[in-house]
C-alpha cells in the first residue's frame, strides 16, 4: 500500500512518455534532406526557366553525390567562392577537387538535359562552355542567375 503512489507515478510517467514517443516525439526534428545519389521522382516542367532549373538541380545532385555532401549543403555553399572553400575544408577536399566536381557535374547534367529534350542545343552549348572555361567566381554567378539568363 505504501508503494502505491510510486507505482501510480511510474505508470503515469511511462504512459505519457510512451504516448509522446508514439505520436512522433523522437522524430520531431528538421526533415532529413534527400540522398543526392538516389534518383528523385520526375517533376513536370513548364517553360524554359523550369527546365533549366531541373537541369541545374540535377547538376547539383550529381556534384553533391560525388563530393559526399547533400545537395542543399552544396547549393548553400554556391553563394560565394568563400562559402565553397569552407565546404571543401569541412569535407577534407581540396579546392581543385571541389571545382572539378562542380564543373563535371554541370557538364553531365547539361548532356542529360539535352538528350532528354529539356534544354535546347544553344542553351546546352552555352552552359557547357561556361562549365569548362569560365573562372569559378563567374561560373557561380552564372549558376545563381542561370534561370534569368536563359529563361
Amino acid at each position: 500500500m505504501r508503494a502505491l503512489p510510486l507505482v501510480v507515478a511510474v505508470a503515469v510517467a511511462c504512459t505519457l512518455v510512451g504516448a509522446y514517443v508514439a505520436l512522433g516525439g523522437t522524430s520531431y526534428e528538421p526533415s532529413p534532406v534527400a540522398n543526392p545519389c538516389a534518383p528523385r521522382p520526375p517533376r513536370p516542367t513548364d517553360g524554359t526557366g523550369e527546365r533549366v532549373e531541373v537541369v541545374l538541380l540535377a547538376a547539383a545532385d550529381g556534384t553533391a553525390c560525388r563530393l559526399g555532401v547533400s545537395r542543399e549543403e552544396l547549393v548553400l555553399a554556391l553563394r560565394s567562392v568563400d562559402d565553397l572553400d569552407a565546404l571543401a575544408r569541412k569535407e577534407g577536399k581540396s579546392r581543385d577537387e571541389l571545382e572539378e566536381a562542380l564543373r563535371a557535374g554541370l557538364v553531365r547534367a547539361v548532356d542529360e538535359g539535352e538528350s532528354q529534350g529539356l534544354i535546347g542545343g544553344t542553351t546546352a552549348d552555352g552552359l557547357r562552355f561556361a562549365a569548362d572555361h569560365l573562372p569559378l567566381g563567374l561560373l557561380l554567378s552564372i549558376l545563381r542567375g542561370a534561370s534569368s539568363l536563359l529563361g
Partner: protein
C-alpha cells in the same frame, strides 16, 4: 496573519531565483550585453544564495528576529537598486546583495515560523510550501510584469512587498538557539541539489522554449507556465496522505523525471503539448521538495541551520543546472540551425514557386537568419512583399515548420539531461530510506 507575511517573505526571496527569466531578453537589449553575460542576472543570485545560506543560518539562529528584519531591509534596498541600476555591473552587484538579504530572510523565517506555529513540523511544511510556491510562480509573475510594465517593475514591486513582511516580526519574541548545530543530512541535501538542478530545466528552459523558441507573447507564456505551480499547490494539499517522506520524495522524483522526459520528446511545437508534462513536473515538485526538506530537517536542531543547508543545496543545484544545461543547449541550437538551414534550402528548391523567385526567397530568408544573431529568426518577414498564392503560403508554412522542428529538437537534449539529473536524485533517497523513518 504572521504566517502569511513570513511566507510572503520566503516566497519573494526564493521567487527571485527565477523571476527574471522572461525579462532576460529585455535586460540584454537595454544593457547591450551578450547572452552568456545576461545569464549572470540569474546565476549570480542563485550562487550567492547558495553561498550565503549556511552563514546566514548561523547568524539567524542566535538573533532570528533582527536577522529577519535586517535581511528584509537589505533585500528591499537591493531590489530598488536592481530596478534603478544604471549599468549591467550594478544590476549584477545588486542581485548579489539581494541574495544575501534573501538568505537571511529565508533562514530566519524558519525560526519565526516555529515560534508562530508552535510546532516544528508545521513550521517546516509552511516554510517548504512557501519556497516551492515562490520558486514555481517566479517565471510566470516575472513574465507578466515584464510584458505589462517592464522588467524594472519586478524589482520595484518587490521592495514594498518585502517591507510589508516586517510586520510579521513586530513584537515577536523568538528564543535564540545556542546549542551547537549537528551534521546536515547529506542524502536529503544531495537529492535536493540534483532535483533542483533538474527543475532548472523545467522553469528556465520551458520559458525559453515558449518565448524565444516558439515566439509566444511573454505574458501568455507566463500564464501557460502557471500550470506547474497550480499542480504543485494541488499536490501539496494531499501530500500527507501519500505516505512517508521517502515514498513522497521518490514519487515526486519519478513524476519530475517523467515530465521532463516528455518535454524532451515533444511531438509538436504548440503550447498545449507542454501542459501534461508540466502537471507531472509540478506535482513532482510539490511532493519531492517538501518531503526532502522535511527529511533534511527531521530531528535536527537548530532548524534554521539545517534549513540553511537545504537552501544552499537547492540553489547550488540551480547553478549546477544552469552551468550544465546552457552549453548543451547552445551546442544543440547550433547543430539544429544547420539542419534547419538544409531542410529550408530543400523546401525552397523543391517548392513550386517560379524558379526566378527561388533565389530571391532564399536570399531574403538567409538575410533574416544572419541578422537574427542567435535569436530564432522570423522567416515570415521574407514573404511580406510576395504574392499571396498557395505556392508561397505553402513554402512559408514549410519553412516555419522546419524552424519550429529545429528549435524544439534543440531543447530536447537539455530536457533529457535534466530528466537524468532528476532520476539520479533517486539514488540518495533510496540509499537513505532506512536512516530516517518520518
Amino acid at each position: 496573519m504572521r504566517t502569511g507575511l513570513v511566507g510572503l517573505g520566503i516566497g519573494l526571496a526564493l521567487a527571485d531565483s527565477s523571476v527574471v527569466t522572461l525579462a532576460l531578453p529585455d535586460i540584454l537589449r537595454q544593457f547591450d550585453v551578450e547572452i552568456p553575460t545576461v545569464a549572470w542576472v540569474l546565476t549570480s543570485y542563485n550562487l550567492w544564495l547558495a553561498l550565503a545560506a549556511v552563514p546566514a543560518a548561523y547568524v539567524a539562529r542566535r538573533r532570528p528576529v533582527p536577522a529577519f528584519a535586517a535581511g528584509t531591509l537589505v533585500f528591499a534596498a537591493a531590489s530598488l537598486a536592481c530596478a534603478l541600476a544604471p549599468s549591467f555591473g550594478v544590476l549584477v552587484g545588486a542581485r548579489c546583495v539581494q541574495a544575501v538579504g534573501g538568505a537571511l530572510v529565508v533562514c530566519a523565517a524558519l525560526d519565526l515560523l516555529t515560534e508562530i506555529e508552535g510546532s516544528d513540523t508545521r513550521a517546516v511544511r509552511t516554510w517548504a510550501a512557501a519556497g516551492i510556491l515562490g520558486a514555481a510562480l517566479g517565471p510566470a509573475i516575472g513574465g507578466i510584469l515584464t510584458e505589462t510594465l517592464g522588467w524594472e517593475s519586478i524589482f520595484l514591486a518587490q521592495a514594498p512587498l518585502a517591507l510589508l513582511t516586517l510586520a510579521a516580526a513586530f513584537r515577536l519574541r523568538v528564543r535564540p538557539i545556542v546549542e551547537p548545530a549537528g551534521r546536515p543530512s547529506i542524502p536529503a541535501n544531495l537529492a535536493l541539489l540534483l532535483l533542483s538542478g533538474a527543475l532548472t530545466a523545467a522553469l528556465f528552459l520551458l520559458v525559453l522554449l515558449l518565448v524565444d523558441g516558439w515566439r509566444m507573447d511573454p505574458a501568455v507564456a507566463g500564464i501557460v507556465v502557471t500550470v506547474m505551480p497550480l499542480a504543485a499547490i494541488a499536490t501539496a494539499a494531499v501530500a500527507d496522505r501519500l505516505g512517508n517522506t521517502v515514498t513522497r520524495a521518490a514519487t515526486g522524483v519519478v513524476l519530475v523525471t517523467g515530465g521532463l522526459t516528455a518535454l524532451g520528446v515533444l511531438p509538436g511545437s504548440a503550447w498545449w503539448w507542454t501542459v501534461v508534462p508540466q502537471i507531472l513536473v509540478g506535482a513532482g515538485l510539490g511532493l519531492a521538495l517538501s518531503a526532502l526538506t522535511e527529511r533534511a530537517l527531521h530531528g535536527r536542531s537548530p532548524q534554521a541551520v539545517h534549513g540553511g543547508w537545504t537552501i544552499a543545496a537547492r540553489h547550488a543545484g540551480v547553478v549546477l543546472g544552469l552551468l550544465l544545461l546552457t552549453p548543451v543547449f547552445t551546442t544543440a541550437l547550433d547543430r539544429n540551425e544547420d539542419r534547419a538551414l538544409r531542410a529550408g534550402a530543400a523546401a525552397v528548391l523543391d517548392s513550386r514557386i517560379p524558379p526566378l523567385e527561388k533565389l530571391g526567397v532564399a536570399q531574403d530568408v538567409l538575410a533574416i537568419v544572419r541578422a537574427s544573431d542567435r535569436e530564432v529568426p522570423d522567416v515570415r518577414g521574407a514573404f511580406a512583399d510576395r504574392p499571396d498564392t498557395p505556392e508561397y503560403r505553402g513554402l512559408e508554412d514549410e519553412l516555419v515548420s522546419q524552424l519550429d522542428r529545429a528549435v524544439t529538437a534543440a531543447f530536447s537534449r537539455p530536457f533529457l539531461l535534466a530528466a537524468l539529473l532528476a532520476l539520479v536524485a533517486l539514488v540518495p533517497i533510496v540509499v537513505s530510506r532506512k536512516a530516517v523513518s518520518v
